[in-house]
């Protein structure tokens, strides 16, 4: 499968601040790739470099096979970009906005545009400046989906939206999934979990991992180890826990941690090496939000 987006060693420095560091990323075509990270992790900067809005300090990226620094009108005719704080032509009505953009795209589908307006319940005659935040996002999304882009890039599209609007937006996205690669940055992990196929985690400008959602869910487990008897802990707790055990906690009869490389056999073996025979090992699957929080806390501590 070819990549819709590819970045190698992409970095951006603003004066003394490294916003993005050596980011290497692959986004397969047809995927829904979620880029998650805390505020200031570098998600927006990454997206802006990919969209040729900002020039990278070093490294390079390709978008639909084109060097991101050379993205031009021909490429943007196949790319949709929606950002939460995008400046729109506020004086235009929704209807005029769509009509105005139509001639820019050879693939513009008028019927699809009308369908999106209906689906998102957009008021055609209302000026963009008079729309609520959610409505504006939906208008931007409608204008980006109407030409069936090969790549749709969304920067924090769910910020501040109420659940109903969020559902509508996701529904609109899912209708396009498959024919369109979707690259989305978001804080809204619960929503991301429901539809993303791939995920990348960005922390302090560095990409910590990037993988398929299923793989991520499979390798993260909250593990609870019940020891054989009270006082069953080794006389001295290990100085160093395994690196992939996050947030280890020990109580007299129990040890709890998050295994970021869970594999039943291997995890059992590591536990035995540290604690000898134990009464019970329970591994709980984790929600994306819990994984994200664990990673963020682990990152903050380290």
């Amino acid at each position: 499968m070819s990549n819709a987006l590819f970045a190698a060693g992409l970095s951006k420095r603003f004066r003394q601040v490294d916003a993005v560091r050596e980011l290497t990323l692959e986004v397969p075509e047809g995927s829904i790739f979620a880029l998650v990270g805390t505020n200031g992790a570098g998600k927006t900067t990454t997206i802006k470099m990919l969209m040729n809005i900002l020039k990278p300090t070093s490294g390079h990226a390709t978008v639909l096979g084109t060097d991101s620094r050379r993205l031009g009108p021909h490429d943007f005719a196949r790319i949709g970009y929606v950002s939460e704080n995008q400046e729109m032509p506020d004086w235009m009505t929704v209807g005029y906005f769509l009509e105005y953009l139509k001639p820019f795209y050879r693939a513009w589908d008028g019927a699809r545009a009308a369908e999106l307006v209906d689906q998102f319940q957009l008021p055609r005659d209302r000026k963009l400046r008079h729309l609520s935040r959610g409505m504006r996002i939906k208008a931007a999304l409608a204008s980006s989906l109407a030409y069936r882009p090969r790549l749709l890039v969304l920067d924090e599209p769910f910020g501040g939206l109420d659940p109903l609007v969020r559902d509508e937006v996701i529904e609109g996205l899912l209708d396009s999934a498959g024919e369109t690669t979707i690259f989305i940055s978001s804080h809204d992990l619960a929503e991301i979990e429901s539809f993303a196929t791939h995920i990348g985690y960005l922390e302090s400008g560095r990409l910590q991992f990037s993988e398929e959602m299923a793989t991520l869910s499979a390798r993260f487990r909250e593990v609870e180890v019940t020891l054989d008897q009270p006082g069953g802990l080794p006389a001295a707790l290990p100085d160093r826990w395994p690196d992939h055990w996050l947030r280890p906690e020990a109580a007299p009869t129990m040890v709890r941690f998050i295994d970021s490389r869970f594999e039943n056999g291997r995890t059992q073996s590591e536990i035995r090496q540290l604690f000898g025979e134990v009464r019970e090992v329970t591994a709980y699957p984790m929600a994306l939000r819990a994984i994200f929080v664990a990673l963020a806390r682990h990152g903050a501590r380290s």
């Binding site: 995008q86 820019f104 795209y105």
Partner: protein, 472 residues
């Protein structure tokens, strides 16, 4: 082209109120201008700011600085976008100005073909001096308010020094009839910088580079404008003018009969230095465009005339060729050294006028076309005055009116040797008067002598004393 027209259409729809305002002001300007009677047409003072406002709003409709604009990730071609903006400016700024001026040409009865170069050159000047620089500024500054503040700061930086410089402090050079060289340097430098910045901004949105380039270009242009030396301006003038006179017979020097007149201003003293020009053949007029002089004392001390002094020297009398220059000296120096012999060195920049052409017309109250795009007429206000007017450009030569055999009067105007067919002005008519007493329906001959040579003459006089010029 299709995309450019599409964006153009959107901008017309977006800015229709501003367009209507510009068109209404243009119509009112023409109405007032062709009726006459008002010296400063107020609609001209409104039309230019309204046009500037329109340009700024137009460019910022697709703002270039910043990273949040929706359009930067849409399939806009930079050439189409820039093309649409230029087309819009041509349609709603340039064309109204063209029609305004064309209407004035027609209403004033100036010959169209004579006026055409001026009409077209005015368009170029408005592009160079207003549309392009303003578009470039608007393309590098985000938001109307910061743009207005920047223009205000630029205005203060330009005009401010005039108010804060200490008395007697001279900033820059005065070039008299060669002043147009300065203007041309400024206009072309600003237009070139603005064009490059516009291209860079639309092509790459390199805002930081554009701002630095614009600031540096503006600074270089301003410095060149302020300090352009007279010899360079004279060299430019000489190189583009046909030298149709052999000036080997000409001599310049210190006139023998100086006016002993001085004027004290705080710690300075102004003295008159008379310059004589000899060897001028009959039928040729001479004008002393500028003089640069220096006093040098035996101990090596030097006092030079300021580059703002001795420009466009007045002829002392109708007969003869003695011109009075005014030079400012330090009062302390003048008081201490007034009696000591000193060497006076001077460089005199002369222009000779000849190839006289004349046309006789009857004096009328209604303007009569004479020649070279000049119309003349008589007005009876409280007194009677004879006026001639030109459109776009007053002739570069000496224009005189001969009312009778012994009554030849020169028009009062500062000559410019500019080769360009127009200056930067919305109201293109320039009117000058002359002394003399015209009589209705009697004949008057308008005589134009054109510049036939620009010549520099240097001189050196030993043993003069400041006392010769400033006896007090």
């Amino acid at each position: 082209m299709k995309q450019a027209l599409h964006i153009f259409g959107k901008d017309v729809f977006y800015l229709w109120r501003e367009i209507l305002l510009v068109l209404a002001l243009a119509a009112l300007f023409v109405y007032v201008e062709t009726r006459g009677g008002i010296v400063d047409n107020p609609f001209g003072m409104l039309l230019i700011p309204a046009s500037c406002w329109l340009i700024a709003r137009l460019i910022q409709a697709e703002a270039l600085p910043g990273d949040k604009q929706y359009w930067v990730t849409r399939p806009y071609s930079w050439k189409s976008l820039l093309g649409s903006k230029l087309l819009f400016i041509a349609a709603f700024v340039s064309l109204p100005i063209l029609f305004v001026q064309l209407a004035i040409v027609i209403a004033s009865g100036f010959p169209f073909w004579n006026s055409l170069p001026g009409l077209l050159w005015t368009q170029v000047l408005f592009w160079f001096c207003m549309s392009l620089p303003l578009a470039a500024l608007s393309a590098t500054i985000a938001g109307i308010v910061p743009l207005i503040l920047t223009i205000f700061v630029l205005f203060v930086a330009t005009v401010g020094p005039l108010f804060v410089l200490p008395f007697g402090y001279d900033l820059g050079t005065l070039l008299g009839p060669f002043e147009w060289v300065k203007d041309a340097v400024l206009v072309f430098a600003v237009a070139a910088a603005a064009t490059l910045v516009l291209r860079a901004q639309y092509r790459m949105r390199a805002t930081l580079f554009s701002r630095i380039f614009l600031a540096a270009g503006g600074a270089v242009a301003a410095i060149a404008y302020i300090y352009l030396p007279l010899p360079l301006a004279f060299a430019v003038q000489s190189s583009i003018s046909q030298q149709r006179f052999d000036g080997s017979s000409l001599r310049a020097g210190l006139a023998e009969a100086p006016f002993r007149q001085s004027q004290y201003l705080q710690d300075l003293v102004r003295v008159r230095i008379p310059i004589s020009v000899d060897g001028v053949p009959p039928g040729i007029d001479v004008q002393t465009d500028a003089v640069r002089m220096q006093f040098q004392w035996p101990d090596g001390r030097v006092w030079k005339s300021s580059p703002r002094e001795m420009v466009g020297l007045q002829k002392r009398a109708v007969e003869g060729n003695v011109f009075d220059g005014v030079m400012v000296l330090s009062r302390a120096l003048s008081d201490a050294e007034r009696n000591r012999p000193v060497t006076l060195r001077g460089a005199v920049y002369l222009t000779l006028f000849g190839n006289a052409r004349s046309r006789t017309v009857a004096v009328k109250k209604k303007p009569v076309n004479v020649m070279d795009g000049i119309q003349c007429f008589m007005v009876t206000l409280p007194g009677t005055e004879f006026l001639c007017r030109s459109i776009f450009h007053w002739p570069s030569g000496v224009v005189s009116a001969k009312f009778s055999e012994n009554d030849l009067r020169r028009f009062r105007q500062a000559i410019s040797y500019s080769p360009f067919p127009a200056g930067l002005s919305l109201g293109p008519i320039e009117t000058h008067s002359t002394e003399g007493t015209p009589t209705l329906d009697r004949e008057v001959a308008i005589i134009i002598k054109e510049p036939i040579a620009h010549i520099r003459r240097d001189f050196e006089v030993h043993g003069v004393r400041i006392l010769d010029f400033a006896p007090l």
